[in-house]
Symmetry: C2
Subunit: 284 residues, 2 copies
């Protein structure tokens, strides 16, 4: 028995955004506990992998379709966890992951979308952006890395870019992983507690916490300005890792199923090929 | 209780190669049946994912190390299956897969290694080549896509290239998926039987079977000429899919463990950072 769609529950409605009104520890559309949630995620795996394979197969017919999953969120919100536990459920051949770091000099010398356009998924693939062009209106706004006029310009540029992307056959699934400042503190402390996680810790992450409110403001503005009909935002409560992974798996599954990729029909005569194989005389 | 290393069992010894003397349906270093083999593969998963994560972490210290898994084999030998079931065991963030198709015009206008060098794994990653520069001495030899002199040159060029790669910190793990002509016929027939697999079938694959013996010759020459100390070949019996997946998982695990990546040591004062977090006064 499959769950009803989670998409309507986490899709951001149009209009002004107040992140503080969205619970970070909710478990949208799921009544069970962590154990049940993990079991549900595992149960979705084969269905997700199946529909992904059909999308992957479809490209051999010349179809340009693909899906781009955009993951945004504060440090420790779990972009890496989603990659590992949700995206990891499908065949890695069909996945193209791009992690965006601080732009290089070359990248800074170009329009902010230049590096983004070079990293789009190929036909048939699920592309995943671990951070994205949204950093250019988030950290860029908080730390004034660009002029106010340039940042203002970017919202529109993003909408135009995403609309083109959708028109060319890419489903754009945007997820903001929503955690609380308290949960982030817990996660940073637990990274400090475990020497196997020290490599994930950056003292700069603590400095950034001083800008927590400014980041939430920047997110609210960005979400509102870029929450378009063709590429809407989803706010995924992420204080509970299992619920975050499950919600995104469900979203991904729902969007892929809505694309309804089908197995390509053979462009050869199946019986003829079977006969060729059965009648061949092979020298080995 | 872990199994003894499989590497010595499938590593190709130096000297002339006779593929017909290597059983395609063997299950090297494993006594159990399919069910036991699949359980063993699942059991290796967490260990493999753990050592992969340490390699991935290591790159943050500036280490250039990476691992390149080269998958070669006749059509249907299971390169895709290895990607899905073996490579799929590790975090997709740390994996970079490149499938090489027939070269484009631009690629043909360059040296055959040009496109290869552009697809090498980044530090900390496992790169996987689904087909590789070896096609340039395999299909190229069978179908005379290059002059005899050029193909002759390529063996040396490959050895020089791989030696450089190893010297720069990339472990090169080369696997030839070894199937019989009979098994290939079965697999092609089963693709015809299943409409969900028609997209994987190409009538050209049947034509290619007429060149089976020529391909085996080309493989034997390529394996012998490029079976170097620093980048040796492994011949992986692949008539049994489960054994193929398990053997490559074991090889990958053994090579990664031999690299012995360790968790990076914190370059900050852990107590100081903990105190900063615990004492902060945060405005949210």
């Amino acid at each position: 028995m499959s769950l009803p769609p989670v998409e309507p529950l986490v899709r951001l409605p149009p209009g002004p955004v107040d992140l503080s009104s969205i619970q970070t520890d909710a478990t949208p559309g799921f009544e069970g506990d962590k154990e049940a949630g993990e079991a549900e995620l595992a149960a979705i795996g084969p269905e997700l992998a199946g529909v992904q394979e059909r999308l992957f197969a479809e490209r051999t017919t010349g179809s340009p379709r693909s899906l781009l999953l955009v993951l945004q969120g504060m440090d420790t919100s779990g972009k890496g966890g989603v990659l590992r536990y949700t995206v990891g459920l499908v065949d890695p051949q069909g996945v193209q992951i791009k992690a965006f770091k601080a732009p290089t000099k070359t990248e800074l010398s170009r329009d902010f979308l230049w590096r983004i356009k070079r990293a789009l998924p190929e036909p048939g693939h699920i592309g995943v952006f671990d951070r994205s062009h949204y950093e250019d209106v988030l950290i860029a706004r908080v730390h004034q890395l660009a002029s106010a006029a340039e940042i203002e310009r970017r919202y529109g540029a993003i909408n135009d870019f995403e609309a083109e992307l959708v028109a060319s056959g890419t489903v754009v699934l945007k997820c903001m992983l929503h955690i609380s400042a308290v949960e982030q503190k817990e996660r940073l402390l637990s990274r400090l507690d475990d020497p196997a996680k020290h490599w994930k810790f950056n003292p700069g992450d603590v400095d950034e916490r001083a800008h927590w409110a400014a980041y939430q403001d920047a997110y609210e503005i960005a979400l509102e300005r870029t929450n378009t009909e063709v590429a809407p935002w989803h706010v995924v409560p992420s204080d509970r890792k299992w619920s975050r992974n499950l919600t995104i798996a469900r979203l991904l599954n729902e969007r892929l199923k809505a694309m309804a990729p089908v197995w390509p029909v053979a462009d050869f005569d199946v019986e003829e090929q079977r006969a060729r194989l059965l009648n061949e005389v092979l020298q080995t």
